[in-house]
């Protein structure tokens, strides 16, 4: 499948294509995570019997814009003992990978920047770079809370990288492709027992659970937020950060929620298909109509998944560090390996 953002037939078409693709990624990166942030503000508030932001804009819709303006005005403090270059670079190193992943993620039929053959591999590999930004910030802050938070983050990301990758690998095994677009297309053709059109989340329910829990841990989201446990570590690797650099770290978290939810949607929940067995031929206005419907379906599913992340945050208390490690190494990784074995056998037998 070709990207809709590819244009040709006139001079500088390649440049226009490049600008379009970059604009798509950047605009998406700076808008949808804000929507998710607003949802977290309001959802979390109502789950705690509060109203949340109500003053900035109707029902507080502009709260994050106001926050952004506030962050812009704040002093950019670099601690005296900090390693200034590493310290200043860390938020960008943490944030950019989330933007890079967006390049490969399809949000609708033809609505993606690049259809990489190694799409899921690229996405998961790039997402692992974020931890380097976290470690850079933690080490260079010259603050013991930051350092301990950074070490926890590193241990956590190593522990949960495996269930995340293994959960995705089982889907790759079944789809027979690493390309995210191909995975969505083969998923649309998948039929349960050869009759009922169904997405991969039914045969891969274990994989989905592993992938989702692991992505929560990857993002340091509660109940896996030991690296930034405020009662123990103040704010982990972000303790010393202020202003825009701090805002970048926060944006990383929300963009990460969107990106990993998008990956879960593509791998397990049928990507841009509104329901299993949906035929895009019935959508009017041809390619454009299909893109709109597909985009709406993808965003809708992403928002549902991010809502569940918020829901879990409001419900469950933080795990202890040893509980977290034990859960990954003793439960999730063996389960993920078993899942792959079962899927492989089923793939060969069926």
């Amino acid at each position: 499948m070709e990207s809709l953002l590819n244009v040709d037939g006139f001079m500088f078409a390649a440049v226009v294509t490049l600008v379009l693709k970059l604009a798509f990624v950047v605009v998406f990166f700076f808008t949808v995570p804000l929507g998710v942030g607003y949802m977290e503000h309001k959802g979390l508030a109502h789950m705690q019997d509060r109203l949340g932001p109500m003053e900035a804009g109707p029902h507080g819709t502009l709260q994050l814009v106001a926050d952004g303006i506030k962050f812009l005005q704040k002093e950019d403090i670099v601690p005296a003992a900090a390693d200034p270059w590493v310290y200043k670079l860390a938020p960008a190193v943490a944030m950019l990978p989330a933007m890079f992943i967006l390049v490969t993620i399809p949000f609708g039929p033809g609505l993606f920047s690049e259809n990489l053959d190694a799409g899921i591999f690229f996405a998961l590999a790039v997402s692992s770079i974020s931890v380097i930004g976290v470690l850079m910030g933690a080490w260079s802050s010259a603050n013991k809370f930051s350092l301990m938070g950074g070490l926890r983050a590193a241990a956590q990301l190593i522990a949960y990288e495996l269930p995340l990758v293994l959960g995705a690998a089982a889907v790759v095994l079944q789809a027979g492709s690493l390309s995210l677009v191909d995975i969505v297309e083969t998923q649309a053709d998948f039929e349960l027992f050869g009759v009922i059109p169904m997405w991969y989340f039914v045969p891969h329910i274990v994989g989905l659970a592993l992938f989702y829990i692991a992505s929560l841990a990857e993002l340091n989201r509660p109940p896996f937020d030991m690296p930034i446990a405020d009662s123990e570590l103040i704010f982990g690797h972000m303790t010393e950060y202020t202003g825009l650099r701090y805002a970048f770290f926060m944006l990383t978290e929300y963009a990460g929620m969107v990106v990993l939810s998008a990956l879960a949607v593509i791998l397990f929940l049928g990507g841009w298909y509104p329901w299993p067995g949906f035929d895009f031929a019935i959508v009017p206005f041809g390619v454009a109509g299909a893109a709109v419907v597909g985009f709406a379906a993808t965003i809708g599913k992403i928002l549902v998944l991010t809502f569940v992340m918020i829901w879990l945050r409001a419900t469950f208390p933080r795990l202890r560090e040893d509980q977290l490690q034990r859960m990954s190494w003793l439960v999730m990784i063996p389960l993920a390996l078993l899942n792959i074995v079962v899927v492989a056998i089923a793939k060969v037998v069926a």
Binding site: H46, D49, R50, L51, W311, A314, T315, F316, M327
Partner: protein
């Protein structure tokens, strides 16, 4: 090597927890949008302390009882010239009465301890300021708060009158009875039915002291010049003579009205108002 404990299996409680948060989210939030929606406070909320300056005698009880000494009182003495002989009296005049609400802990002891009902609780609470100094409210501001003090609660149906009112009523009745008895013993017979009407207008709640004849005739006091002259000639002081002359005038006037009423119509048809004496 210590053996690792077996991980516990997640149980149904996890889902129950999710149910609790979802239910809370779908039910309306309890948040009150304060600056937009005023809080629904009980009417006797202890918001701020108000001062009724006229009632203050500068006894300083409030300032002395205040646990954190947040009440400032300044006053001076004023000599009141005697009206008719006697010695000159002094009274305290309030110069300054201020409450520092930055110190006040809203215990209400000053309101409790005030013997003259000069301090009151008001439910107003929106007086935050940008500086500590502005939290010291002077007596002008405390007077403004006085306007926000809610009226005292209604008495229960059938309750006794407040002591001040009951005492005043009894005293007035006694005086009227004595006056009537002294002025016209015969007329006191006709006073009984009118007392019933007076009771009714005073309110069924008011308990009538037994044996006290109620007086509903109002007479504007005037000095009876003849009695006055006689008393002065008899050697009484002017002040005493004026008081006695006034009392004599009222007695005579009331007796005259009662006589008129008893003569003009039967007692039951008597004018229940009985206010013609004032004309």
């Amino acid at each position: 090597m210590p053996s690792l404990p077996i991980p516990t299996v997640p149980k149904i409680g996890l889902l129950k927890g999710l149910g609790v948060t979802l239910k809370t989210m779908l039910s309306p939030a309890t948040t009150q949008r304060y600056p937009h929606v005023k809080p629904d406070l009980p009417p006797r909320t202890r918001g701020v302390i108000a001062l009724m300056e006229e009632n203050c005698t500068v006894c300083m009880l409030c300032a002395r009882e205040c646990p954190d000494w947040c009440i400032y009182i300044d006053s001076h003495k004023e000599v009141v010239a005697p009206k008719d002989g006697g010695r000159a009296r002094t009274r305290n005049l309030l110069d300054r009465f201020a409450i520092d609400f930055a110190l006040c802990m809203y215990c209400g002891i000053c309101v409790e301890v005030c013997p003259f009902d000069a301090l009151f609780w008001s439910p107003e609470f929106e007086y935050s300021t940008y500086s500590l100094r502005e939290l010291t409210h002077e007596k002008e501001q405390l007077r403004v708060w006085m306007d926000t003090v809610p009226a005292p609660p209604e008495l229960d149906v059938g309750a006794e009158d407040p002591k001040e009112i009951a005492d005043g009523l009894v005293a007035a009745l006694k005086a009227a009875e004595q006056a009537a008895a002294a002025a016209a013993p015969a007329a006191s017979v006709s006073a009984a039915p009118t007392s019933g009407a007076a009771l009714g207008s005073a309110g069924e709640a008011g308990p009538a002291p037994a044996g006290v004849i109620q007086d509903d005739i109002h007479v504007e006091a005037q000095v009876d010049q003849k009695v006055f002259d006689e008393l002065v000639a008899g050697g009484a002081s002017e002040r005493v003579a004026r008081a006695k002359a006034k009392a004599a005038y009222v007695r005579a006037e009331k007796a005259r009205i009662r006589g008129e009423r008893a003569g003009a119509s039967p007692p039951a048809g008597g004018d229940p108002d009985g206010r013609e004496g004032g004309a």
